[in-house]
């Protein structure tokens, strides 16, 4: 099965799951539920897009949840302690998150640390940093002060296309959250970056075969560093959307989000053995997870069962990835054998 047909299989599975819940779960097929799905999982999709880059490079980024908290707390501090304007805060937070990601890449490239270990270490370090810079603890009273800057809260905006198109009298369309459009823009940008630029081709080559990439004259260190920086950038963006939604940041923000991001990426067909996958799959993976979680909640199924099920789906996706990988290797060996015979 090729990568393309695997993507179609994923899409088909997503559509089937979606239709199942539309039929089976009460109030799943409603406009407000579609809104909930879009506003509740767009940031997970953005995290999954970011996570795809380290995984494409045969690595992983466990620190994304901590980077979410770090970027969130930077927004919190700059807004409530330093009273900077929102238009200045947002780029600062994004740059900080990107740098945090780049530091992961630096540890992997320069110190030659295993990505798992490097990002596990920064997970702890970034989370510690969040606690130490937390304005909630440094300044009494801030923990109950909401963020009101329109530049930030404005990100939690919904668009009513039903009224814009003048069809709201006949159908109730979901109001589409701005975060969903931001996710689409990120998706388009990184899809273009991966598919149509030299950087993208280099990234696939480095992930697929680092030695060959080096021999082909690709600056593998730079590509790797950039890959982790992208993951950090996406975590920063997700943090900003979350802060806009919550009107605050907490020290524990983003805890466990690396699990959702990695699960969505792997379910989305990004191969853990590197070099194979897209950013479209992870987005579908994120909304698949969201559909299942919301659908099961509406069906009244215990959340503990939901967590088990999420784990099972992840195992299935990893297992499937493994089978594909083995098949590819076998084909490669067969091809080589044929060539030597000829």
């Amino acid at each position: 099965m090729t990568a393309r047909s695997a993507a179609f299989a994923l899409l088909a599975f997503f559509v089937a799951t979606f239709i199942f819940f539309c039929v089976a779960a009460p109030r799943f097929a409603t406009a407000s539920n579609m809104e909930n799905l879009m506003s509740g999982f767009s940031f997970v999709a953005i995290l999954a897009i970011g996570q795809s880059f380290p995984i494409l490079l045969r690595g992983i980024d466990l620190s994304v949840g901590a980077i979410v908290a770090l970027a969130g707390m930077i927004v919190f501090d700059l807004e409530l302690i330093f009273h900077l304007p929102g238009w200045l805060i947002l780029p600062i937070a994004l740059v900080a998150a990107t740098l945090a990601g780049a530091l992961n890449g630096w540890l992997v490239v320069k110190l030659k640390l295993q990505p798992f270990i490097a990002t596990l270490a920064t997970l702890a370090a970034y989370r510690g940093l969040v606690y130490s810079i937390s304005g909630r603890q440094l300044v009494p009273g801030l923990s109950t002060t909401p963020i009101r800057d329109p530049w930030i809260t404005g990100l939690e905006t919904y668009f009513d296309f039903g009224s814009l198109l003048g069809i709201s009298d006949w159908v109730t369309l979901p109001w589409v959250p701005l975060s969903f459009f931001i996710m689409l823009v990120v998706l388009a940008a990184f899809h273009f970056l991966l598919g149509s630029t030299r950087f993208g081709r280099s990234l696939y080559t480095v992930g697929g075969n680092p030695e060959a990439a080096r021999l082909a004259g690709i600056d593998t260190a730079r590509v790797t560093l950039a890959g982790y920086a992208v993951s950090g950038f996406c975590a920063g963006l997700a943090a900003i959307l979350l802060v806009a939604r919550l009107t605050t940041a907490t020290e524990a923000l983003g805890t466990g989000m690396e699990m959702s991001a990695i699960a969505a990426a792997v379910i989305g067909g990004v191969s853990l053995s590197g070099g194979i996958g897209s950013v479209v799959g992870p987005v579908i993976g994120a909304f698949l997870l969201g559909t299942i979680l919301i659908g099961l909640t509406l069906l009244g199924i215990s959340q503990y069962v939901q967590q088990i099920l999420t784990g099972a789906i992840l195992v299935a996706a990893v297992g499937y990835d493994r089978i594909l990988d083995l098949r590819r290797r076998r084909r490669l060996v067969a091809n080589l054998a044929e060539e030597t015979h000829a």
């Binding site: 923990s143 109950t144 909401p146 919904y158 009224s163 979350l242 919550l246 009107t247 909640t297 503990y304």
Partner: protein
């Protein structure tokens, strides 16, 4: 029919439709109820009509914990009895975004009342506002939210801690050095309990001196380490107040190991089963006991009255508040707490 305005902001949309729906439901219910007495409950009025379709209520907890599961048990007891309420417990998994997503789901489901133990007072405020716009009453437990809602039912943090300070000082004979094992900053409960304790000391026992106030992260293990260090630095330490029982029990562990049982006055807060047993064993000096099953029942009682009385979330002029009765449990009073009240 159009219920949407042209603004791009999530604000007041659908209120009108929802309002119409709620209003007609209320009228229908009232109409149906006015014609007779319910043969099962004997009540006259809207509540009898509600049996036609059960109303939904749910509790979103912080994370699995003895306190929240006892609340849930108390709520379930009351709500089951009504025969007209479907109740369920949902888990926030210690993540604000999960609680927010669950709020959204319950709002979409058209729940009548949402019980909420918010992880953060600010982060859940937009969700509470959204629920309110949809006519859903939100009742918070223990941790208040910055957005006004139907009601808040809390353990009596401030006044209870004042009474702890009084009993604490009495045991110390009105003087001595004491330490506070505190929660990490940023949680309202921490401030309420700490301020109550300090104000209580000022009022009843001004000669007592607080020599240390350190965070032990709510944890028994962490409290053991912190108190060991504190005892080394303050050999004259006469008393310890843990803002929850786990931390107080951590201090008890250290006192036992150092042969200070009975000499070091140690108070906790909450009143969980382990703490009460420790008081009976003569180790922990005392704690503020709250019947949390009862707290759940009270919240459920308020919810039932609101829902069966068809009181919409928008009807409140300001947020309702209920403080739980409590007992300062010491060796002398702990026997009054019945086994069925222990959690």
């Amino acid at each position: 029919m159009s219920n949407k305005d042209d603004t791009l902001n999530g604000g007041d949309r659908r209120d009108f439709l929802k309002g119409l729906a709620l209003g007609s439901a209320a009228l229908g219910a009232a109409g149906a109820g006015l014609f007779g007495v319910d043969p099962k409950t004997g009540s006259i009025g809207p509540s009898s009509a509600m049996a036609a379709g059960n109303i939904k209520m749910a509790f979103i907890q912080w994370q699995p914990h003895t306190v929240s599961s006892a609340w849930s048990k108390g709520m379930e007891e009351v709500l089951k009895t009504q025969q007209t309420v479907d109740y369920r417990l949902l888990d926030g998994q210690n993540k604000v975004e999960v609680q927010v997503s669950l709020m959204d789901t319950l709002i979409n489901e058209g729940a009548a009342v949402i019980f909420l133990q918010p992880i953060d007072s600010v982060a859940l405020a937009p969700s509470i506002a959204k629920a309110k716009r949809s006519g859903i009453s939100v009742i918070t437990l223990n941790i208040d939210a910055t957005e006004a809602h139907a009601a808040h039912v809390e353990m009596n943090h401030y006044y209870g801690a004042m009474d702890i300070a009084k009993a604490f000082g009495d045991k110390l004979g009105g003087k001595g050095d004491v330490a506070i094992l505190n929660a990490p900053p940023g949680i309202i409960i921490r401030d309420q309990r700490t301020n109550g304790f300090l104000d209580g000391l000022k009022k009843y026992h001004p000669a007592i001196k607080v020599v240390a106030d350190q965070s032990a992260d709510w944890s028994r293990k962490k409290a053991q380490d912190v108190i060991t260090t504190l005892l080394a630095a303050n050999p004259n330490l006469a008393g310890v107040y843990g803002v929850n029982d786990s931390m107080a029990l951590g201090a008890v562990d250290v006192a036992k190991a150092k042969g200070l049982t009975g000499k070091l006055v140690i108070f906790g807060n909450d009143g969980e089963k382990d703490a009460l047993e420790s008081i009976e064993a003569g180790e922990l000096t005392g704690t503020q006991y709250t019947d949390v099953y009862q707290q759940g029942r009270f919240a459920a009682a308020a919810a039932t009255v609101l829902a069966s009385g068809l009181v919409p979330a928008t009807a409140f002029k300001q947020q309702g508040k209920l403080l739980m009765p409590y007992v300062i449990a010491t060796k002398e009073t702990v026997g009054t707490i019945q086994p069925s009240q222990r959690w």
